[in-house]
């Protein structure tokens, strides 16, 4: 996010056009500073995130020896100490480390919620707990106007929606209502990523509510495909931006599903023949449309929407598709000089690899080792992919 960057550009223009003078421009610029993610503060936030996750796992696995009251006391003391230290350091002008400690405070609060759930063996606690956690994190993020903490709050909320679906196979209105403040904040802070994540949460909620009334899980695919088809219809029109997020959301959901959900042993329900007919019609319609509009290069993307359930070697096929389609998106972006395809292709590729890793390695290795290995793997991949992405983007810039 680059808040107020546009304003700075505008101010420069106004200055050149003589509408305002240098002092006014500078005064306005200092009133609305450009805030963006800086590498070092991001690293500190990730460090806080890792410490927080480590703490939650520590509590989850190792705390049975300690009396409950002592555990609670440690959580309270830890929370107040971390928040206090964060605020103190921020006051001293060390805002990066200060804010990351305040962020750690929100994670300790989350650890506290789950600790209580564990202490009293409370069932069906995840979704509600994540919702409260998200509200707490979101309020802190709002007070400090911090986009990173707000993003974490949005992710917590999206997870709450997902867990509610897992626990109750539907999403309550209360959970979806929280999307409103997050959409509002995303709009106000001009954060496309936040907007996108919130839409993913809303989409998950909407899909889960529909799925609740229909026993088959596979109908989700025609819907996702229809969204893709619809957005292609607007490929060369000014309406495309309206469908940009639903299109991306559809792609992200399809790839994550393909990489995780649709495995042989996870498929409980056979798709009905009708759903295949609906599917075939939409797929065929899209192929014909893309071919006639000479947009055939988009066609391979549709491969991710192939209904593979019930086919031999389904897991291998799905894994290959989940890897191949993002790579195709990157190459498409390279050819068409579309930066967003390269960026999203890169993220999708990372998601695929990570999702495949989660699905296949979770059962094989110890959970703490799982996170360490996963982290290192992701880190290495991110570096390689980032280098490649920057190279591609700079080559595009050179041409421009």
């Amino acid at each position: 996010m680059n808040r107020h960057k546009w304003l700075h550009a505008e101010l420069d223009r106004w200055k050149e056009e003589g509408l305002i003078g240098e002092p006014q421009a500078e005064a306005l610029k200092s009133r609305y500073p450009v805030t963006s993610y800086e590498t070092t503060s991001l690293m500190m936030f990730f460090a806080a995130l890792l410490v927080g996750i480590g703490l939650i796992f520590f509590i989850a696995h190792n705390w049975s020896e300690m009396p409950n009251l002592l555990k609670l006391a440690i959580i309270f003391a830890g929370m107040i100490a971390v928040y206090g230290a964060g605020e103190y350091l921020r006051g001293k002008g060390r805002s990066a480390i200060g804010l990351s400690l305040i962020f750690l405070g929100t994670l300790v609060f989350g650890a506290g919620i789950f600790l209580i759930g564990q202490m009293f063996h409370i069932v069906a606690y995840n979704a509600g707990a994540l919702l409260v956690w998200s509200i707490a994190t979101g309020s802190i993020a709002w007070v400090y106007r911090n986009p990173f903490i707000m993003l974490v709050a949005v992710v917590q909320w999206a997870l709450a929606v997902w867990f509610q679906f897992e626990e109750y196979h539907r999403t309550s209105l209360w959970f979806l209502l929280l999307a409103i403040p997050y959409l509002f904040v995303a709009r106000r802070w001009e954060s496309r990523l936040m907007l996108f994540l919130t839409w993913i949460g809303v989409g998950t909620g909407a899909i889960s509510n529909l799925a609740y009334y229909d026993a088959s899980e596979l109908w989700v695919y025609p819907v996702l495909l229809a969204v893709l088809a619809l957005s292609f219809t607007f490929a060369n029109s000014p309406f495309l931006p309206m469908f940009y997020y639903p299109l991306l959301m559809s792609l992200y959901v399809a790839i994550t599903l393909q990489a995780t959900l649709f495995r042989e042993d996870w498929l409980r329900i056979d798709p009905s023949p009708e759903s295949y007919y609906v599917y075939a019609v939409i797929l065929l319609g899209m192929v014909v449309y893309l071919w006639r509009s000479q947009l055939t290069e988009y066609l391979p993307i549709a491969a991710i929407y192939l209904p593979t359930a019930g086919i031999d070697y389904v897991e291998f096929l799905n894994a290959s598709l989940a890897i191949a389609v993002p790579i195709y998106l990157i190459s498409l972006g390279e050819r068409k000089r579309e930066k967003s395809w390269i960026n999203h292709g890169t993220i999708l590729f990372l998601i695929s690899v990570f999702a495949l890793y989660v699905v296949n390695a979770w059962t094989l290795i110890d959970s703490s080792l799982f996170f360490v290995v996963g982290g290192i793997l992701l880190f290495a991949l991110a570096i390689v992919m980032e280098r490649r992405r920057r190279k591609l983007l700079s080559s595009i810039r050179e041409v421009e």
Partner: protein, 170 residues
């Protein structure tokens, strides 16, 4: 900024205290009842290993009275002490029981309704036991005799202890 932060921190502390306090109250003021359990298995990513338990009182005959409720209905289950354990006596969708000294009332959720068999599946909120990583296995053993001590206060239950073959299980 500072003031706002501390208000939020206070709210967070109050929330944690409130939730923990509710369950502490049940542990302190509640009546302890012993129930026979039947374990199953899974795992929770946030809270480590747990064993999922089923109970004899998880499946009960549906009350005679009519209810419009289709799922997740609040149900009051009256238990009576037979020997060491508490067993099912009567259930109702209305809060009408006044338990004797050898009885207890649990509030549960009727989650599935078999119309023809007139049977309800009820969850009470203490079907999961969280244990240290890798410690859930013995509870999943079908041969094992698992019993739980539950504290009940005003219908609200909290799982207090788990016994495996008569021994307290950590």
């Amino acid at each position: 900024m500072k003031k706002k932060l501390w208000i939020l921190v206070l709210l967070q502390c109050l929330f944690l205290l409130g939730v923990a306090g509710q369950y502490y109250a049940v542990q302190v003021f509640g009546k302890e009842i012993l129930l026979k359990a039947v374990p199953v298995d899974p795992r929770d990513p946030f809270r480590g290993d747990f064993a999922r338990l089923g109970f004899e009182i998880s499946r009960i005959p549906a009350p005679q009275e009519k209810s419009d409720c289709k799922r997740d209905c609040k149900i009051f289950v009256l238990l009576e002490k037979k020997g060491q354990y508490y067993v099912f006596k009567e259930a109702s969708f209305a809060d009408k029981f006044e338990p004797e000294a050898n009885e207890a009332v649990l509030v549960g959720k009727a989650v599935y309704h078999w119309e023809s068999e007139r049977e309800l599946r009820v969850t009470y909120g203490f079907e999961q036991v969280f244990v240290e990583e890798g410690m859930g296995k013995p509870l999943e053993d079908r041969e094992a005799e698992v019993t739980v001590a539950v504290k009940v206060w005003n219908g609200r239950p909290v799982l207090n202890h788990v016994y495996l073959n008569g021994q307290l299980y950590k």
